[in-house]
Amino acid sequence: MSLQDKLAAAFKGDSKNATVENYKKEAFEAFSQKGFPTTKDEEWKYTSLRSVLKNEYGIESAKATNITQDSITPFLVAGLDSYKLVFVDGVFQASLSDSIEEVSVKLLSEAIEDASYQEIFKNKYNTLAKGFTSLTDLNTAFTTEGVVIQVAKSKAVSKPIELIYLASGETSAMLLQPRNLITVGENAEVKFIERHQSVANVATFNNVVTEVFVAKNGIFDLYKIQNDKDDASLVDATFVAQERDTVASVYTFSFGGNITRNNLSFYQNGPGCDSILNGVTILEGSQLVDSHTLVAHKSPDCQSNETYKGVYGGKSTGVFNGKVIVDQAAQRINAYQQNDSVLISDDATINSKPQLEIFADDVKCSHGCTIGQLDKSALFYMQQRGIPAKEAEALLMFAFCSDAIKDVKIPALKIKINQMVADKLKVNIQFDEIAE
């Protein structure tokens, strides 16, 4: 039985919320028609899900978890005072999570049944994700849990919120489909760190959807840390809708996993928006990371800044597809996009594609793409000053990536990322002391 057939057999589609039930049925219909994407789809040309779909996914019922605080610690940001929300195998773990008073946090499963949430489901939920890809629809049809977080007007949340989704299955491969909805109120400010991590001894497949709405003058930051096991795959779709004068940043740090597909979409719905999309990918083995980004400039006087850096070793593959659409109304916008890759092995591959569709005439759009190897003369120069070859290489790679890391606003996270980069490059260098 194929995964698609298995899903069809398991589909129920009922919900205590009429809006959600409707979405589920609609999404399941759409998914049934389109099925899983294949490399024949232009948008999935370089990313085959075959290795992910061949697993026998079991439908495990929720069980008591043996995950403890200690087993989560490695996946948290050390030394960071944060609010933690922990899910294991799709089930919220209150004992491992922090209660948050300054922000409204509700589990998706509870919000669906809560009358006071009717409006947000009608006006926000699935409005960005609907029909985006068949996998997004799959999530809509099957999701059972996630968080609905609302930051009230003018609230500057005092600590970052860490969303930790663990997979701990033991018997059969796991398909997990968390769903998040975040609203940032007018003039409010909030930072998130998101991580999907397998501690399972089976293959895992996370199909995640997050919708974010940032109201007038709001500030939103999301840092995604991806360093999963080699049998863990992730397809993520994150949507950020910005009202006027908002600043939204999403950083994606991809250091591991089997297949990782990041769909990141920004919609600038009012003037004066600023969107920041930064990514650092460092891969080895046969890992694949595919970053598909979209910035939809729909309003005048906005900016977008996109910097993606990648270092590819082994037989790894990188895909970058950066789409920028500038509507006719979006005059005087400034869109910047840069994708730089270094191939450190003969067998590594990068497919990089900027995609600009510009319908306004008074705009500044720039894009650049470089693919290269480490500069030999720079390596000799550094070695001549006594820095061993391996450290010199790592230092050059780190310096190469630093443009996409330097503006991380959480100091403890910056240290963590620097450390992860050092580990990934297998050197013992305190990059945080080296980088300015």
């Binding site: 003369s377 120069y381 070695q383 001549q384 006594g386 820095i387 061993p388 450290e391 443009d403 080296i434």
Partner: protein, 246 residues
């Protein structure tokens, strides 16, 4: 200190050094002059261990130890320093942090702990003052957007920090105005001692007014064709190289 015997080296298929001999003792300053394409920069690169060059014959030894099998960083740890003719830009790494990393890599190789932060800071302050380097310069990305003079000054600053036994200055004077030249030469002179040695590679006698050599060698077609005292440099300035090369 440095002994080079019958050195032959090539890059790709071009023979550049063709049997070069030179001996530099501790406390000495040697100048190597010669026409373009004579092999001056090749000599510097080969001594520093640049793998683009292949040594086909001959030996290079530092304090009696053969350098042949040592990588560039291992040679640096033994005390070889090369001031590059064209220093490389390294965006994302500041001058200060680069030199800290270099110093601690050398200390580690020699079995020492990292230099304490306070000591490092003091040393950076002293040595940058010696080369009239401003504080904001130290936090800029290494060589990125530096003027020619700034790059060369930064090279000598690194030399001052690393305190090498053998310093090779490869056309450190090119692109320097007279004030910068004076500062750089003054820096080199302050670092000179009876325990270290300096090789100055240059086209022009001008630098040698400031860094006075004990010996001057003429390198042409991959060999030293004439050696003499500092007066040879003046003679070369006046007459050029043609009378020697013919």
């Amino acid at each position: 200190m440095l002994k080079i015997e019958n050195l032959h080296a090539k890059v790709e298929d071009n023979d550049i050094l063709k049997g070069l001999n030179i001996e530099v003792k501790a406390g000495e300053v040697h100048a190597i002059m010669g026409p373009n394409g004579a092999g001056k920069s090749t000599l510097a690169s080969v001594v520093a261990g640049n793998e683009n060059y292949e040594v086909t014959e001959g030996t290079i030894s530092l304090e009696g130890e053969d350098l042949e099998d040592l990588s560039p960083d291992e040679r640096a740890h033994k005390g070889v320093f090369l001031s590059f003719q064209y220093p490389v830009e390294i965006p994302g790494v500041s001058v200060t942090n680069f030199i800290k990393t270099a110093i601690n890599a050398k200390r580690k190789a020699n079995g020492l702990q990292d230099m304490p932060a306070g000591e490092m800071l003091k040393m950076i302050r002293e040595k940058s003052a010696l080369l009239e380097i401003k504080k904001d310069f130290l936090s800029r990305s290494l060589n990125e957007g530096f003027s020619g003079g700034e790059k060369k000054r930064n090279e000598i600053f690194q030399m001052a920090m690393l305190e090498p036994k053998l310093a090779i200055l490869d056309e450190t004077d090119s692109g320097l105005d007279i004030d910068a030249l004076r500062i750089v030469a003054n820096g080199v002179n302050k670092l000179k001692s009876k325990d270290n040695a300096v090789i100055v590679i240059t086209h022009y006698q001008r630098l040698l007014d400031y860094i006075v050599p004990d010996f001057v060698h003429v390198l042409a077609d991959g060999k030293i064709i004439k050696s003499g005292g500092k007066e040879l440099a003046l003679e070369l300035e006046e007459k050029g190289y043609d009378w020697l090369v013919k």
